[in-house]
Amino acid sequence: MLGKLILNYPEAARRMGLLLIAALIVTGLYALGISSAWIGKIFPAAVDWLKENKQFGRLVSAVIITFILAVNWALLQLLSRRQQIAAIWIELFALLMLFFYSFDLSISFIARKIGFMISQGVVTTLFISSISIAIATLIALAGAIAKLSKNGVVYGIATFYTSLFRGLPLLMQIYIIYLGLPQVGYVISAIPAGILALSLCYGAYMTEIFRAGIESIHRGQTEGATALGLGPNQTMFLVILPQAMRVIVPPTGNQFIAMLKDSSLVSVVGVWEIMYLARTQGQTEFRHIEMLITASMIYWVLSIGLEFIQSRIEAHFGRFNAR
């Protein structure tokens, strides 16, 4: 019945569908309890009417927003794909800024603190993260090769390591390393403890990524290299890994971005990185939210930097796939 209707009157069915979607959005916005106060700000004349008709005002507000969304959508369809992407980024970013603006932030406070946030916090975060990334990569490579080893002892060590460090919360690992190592006579300061915990934890996750990447390369590649007389190490580093990198890089980029943000956990042992400063700098003047949002934006900018580096590396290792 409905199918027949759609087949016979496709244009009418399409319009009905669009109306249905619009109705759903209006209902959704209304049900979420959207405010109508913004209408009053734009049209001061409507303020009194809105006060008298609260429910109806909400409905009008939902309908207008839905209408704006629909017009926006229709206009975006006129653009090319690249322009659409750029326009959507700008729009969503503007909305995010609007959201932050609604907190009534003290820009002057942020401007006063941001220099120190960057010179102390960003530098420390980047220092901890980049060293941890380097060590984690080495651990992951060694771990992956160990996991593919025929030697039971080596395999056993690798599986115990990945199981343990993937199984414990990172926060616990930081505490255990910082507070536990002194118990066995090795006093470790906060930054090395943080680096050690991050490297070991992410090394364990990345071991699995590297192993999967290496295993994704067909056995024929190893045989081809072996038949040419290349040794096992040459085969791994000249033939297998360069190909495996295509599989390894995207999830590793993910891990690096996650690690950058998880480095905030190191703040619990008193390292002056971004998160620690965000919590402490705002305290004196009760401007917590300013510092938290600033810190969030800084993390985001750093993540975008990592995304960019990842795409460059991906392009490098994927170049042989070009036709």
């Binding site: 081809g224 038949a227 040419l228 042989f320 070009a322 036709r323």
Partner: protein, 250 residues
């Protein structure tokens, strides 16, 4: 250098056995292959022909018997294995070119890293062999950009760049589209005519007739029959050889 073993043959296999679990893949193989001899090995699938040639460069490990290649016995000794692999080139059914390297880089990889040859010299040699397989103009491309026949010719050139004494071919034309089989076989024929010691696992009976000194028939891991191509094709002695030939020659 490992101590040379006295033998007149380039390759000799004495009482070689291999098992995969309980499966008897090679069953008492005895075979002498002389210098510059061209051998074609045929037989039904699962008869152990690929396993046999893969034992010769130790891609597979035999469990009993002796394999001696160029006077060097294949044992667990890594040094011996390295020596043998340097002297034995291999061409695979699926080419096994390295897709992340260009054709030229594929060819110079082993000479540079295994033979420690200067890059310029390796490039010169590689271009020489790429010309011989008639695709020097593809040197800068990646394997994925070439046809199957071209890729297999590159694989042959890549093996030749190591200047091997023996070439092993493991069904080199089986994965190719029919129209590309000839260009690969032509390359192999010209190689045979230049006096390369060759062991080819193949079902290309025309190639066997044209260049083989000896045809070896295997079945169920056993070496059933060996004869000159003329004798083997015109008057096979063994019942199983006759059955096999009737199936593939229609």
């Amino acid at each position: 250098m490992p101590a040379p073993v006295e033998t007149d043959s380039e390759i000799s296999l004495v009482g070689v056995h291999k098992w995969y679990g309980v499966y008897h893949a090679l069953d008492d193989i005895n075979l002498e292959i002389g210098r510059k001899e061209r051998i074609v090995i045929c037989g039904p699938s699962g008869s152990g022909k690929s396993t046999l040639i893969r034992c010769i460069n130790r891609l597979e490990t035999h469990q009993e018997g002796r394999i001696i290649v160029g006077g060097v016995e294949l044992t667990d000794d890594e040094k011996n294995i390295d020596v043998v692999r340097r002297e034995v080139g291999m061409v695979f059914q699926h080419f096994n070119l390295f897709p992340h390297l260009t054709i030229l880089e594929n060819c110079i990889l082993a000479p540079v890293w295994v033979r420690k040859m200067p890059k310029a010299k390796a490039t010169e040699i590689a271009m020489h062999f790429l010309e011989r397989v008639r695709i020097p103009e593809q040197a800068g491309k990646y394997p994925g950009q070439l046809s199957g026949g071209q890729q297999q010719r590159v694989a042959i050139a890549r093996a030749l760049c190591m200047n091997p004494k023996v070439m092993l071919f493991d069904e080199p034309t089986s994965a190719l589209d029919p129209e590309m089989v000839k260009e690969v076989l032509d390359t192999m024929v010209s190689l045979a005519q230049e006096g390369m010691t060759m062991i080819c696992v193949t079902h290309e009976m025309g190639f066997a007739r044209q260049v083989a000194d000896r045809v070896i028939f295997m079945d169920q891991g056993k070496l059933i029959e060996q004869a000159s191509p003329k004798e083997f094709f015109d008057n096979p002695q063994n019942e199983r050889s006759r059955l096999f030939l009737s199936q593939i020659l229609h």
